[in-house]
Amino acid sequence: MLFNIPWNLSSNWTFAWSILPILLIGLEVTIKATIFGFLLALILGLPLALLRAVPFRIISWPTAVLIEFIRDTPLLVQVYFVYYVLPDYGLIFSAFLTGTIALGIQYSAYTAEVYRAGLEAIPQGQWEAAKALSLQTRRIYRDIVIPQAIPRIVPAMGNYLISIIKDTPILSAVTVLEVLNVAKIIGDRTFRYLIPLSMVGGLFLILTVISSVLVRYIERRLPKEGIPLK
């Protein structure tokens, strides 16, 4: 029994059917962690990208090293780091929040690079033309650069969203009851690992297929030349 839902061990099929609702509770946590982690990565990546692009090496170089450092070290260790270190400084969060923060940090290093590549892909002529019209910097960004950068940024971000889905089981290492952890607990208690773990595999497959279809759909709908302005 887990989350007050009992399982039925009389046959493989009844077992599978009886644990499905339990797994779906775990799946809900997985999806929430994915969404919050992704949003956090989108937010944190932006300042990293901007600091990286600052023309002073005193700032841009350490930012580049930081991005590389976050990218090159395991998410699991980062999760442990956040989980065990933050409380030492009086910052006590739930396991779920801790894991989500770690996901956000890890993926901010990736999103930062996406923002940077998106901005760099804007042809030099666009900047020059905008300056020739003496537009303010703020306007150049708002009306010219960002609308053109979005169609380049979105597909890459979509791929990282799918990666985040597949990385959420790592949060089980700090007791988050996401879907894999739930399946593992069912296995530990019934000694039947095969069915719950295979079902989790199937659930992830469904989740990633749905999200890639969604990402491709959005990608196709985006105008290649940029978001049209009225």
Binding site: E68, F69, R71, D72, T73, P74, L75, L76, V77, Q78, Y80, F81, Y84, V85, D88, I165, K166, D167, T168, P169, I170, S172, A173, L180, A183, K184, G187, R192, Y193, L194, L197, S198, V200, G201, F204, L205, T208, V209
Partner: protein, 219 residues
Amino acid sequence: MTYTQMILVLLNGFKVTVWVTLISTVMGGIFSFAFGIGKMSRFWPVRIISDGYIEIFRGTSLLVQLFWLFYALPLLGVSLSPMSAGIWALSLNIGAYGAEVVRGAILAVDTGQYEAAKALNFTPSRTLWKVLIPQAVVEMMPPFGNLVVQNMKDSALVSLITLSDLTFKAQTIRNETLQTVPIYVITLLLYFLLALVLTGIMKWLERILTTASGREGVR
């Protein structure tokens, strides 16, 4: 615990991490070529198997695959040690991503090369191994470089099936000493160092292969 003791314990785990990373990367490379080429095969069963492998291992989570091999597979009569379960899971996982890299790079070779080989009556396998792959391999190197670092990072997950790698050792001595900050800082730095070394090796390989593939421009 002094820092020296700490570092010595962590280095013990580091050796396991390096070992697991290297073996699973090499095996993953083999899977990449086998299934990446398999997906382009003229024989449909080979295509279906390759495609199924790629979709399943890319579509599910590495930790699910690892737990499945370690906890579920024994119920089907195959028991793997933590070491072999870890290496199999890592290499099968990274191989699925690598297979797409291999396929993409081969398909990206100029069709003129394929036509010239056909005009000279090369067999399909000679065309593949002597013409297409030697050229495609250069294109594969940058994404392979990313996958190698990815695989190294993923290797930390083997600590969750009790293999005493760097992450596992860090956890163990943290529980004993509670010196959380220095332990994790050293651990992260060791991973970062390994990533830099691996990236360096891949860049070096890329340079060698670029020369060998005849990409050097006019002298």
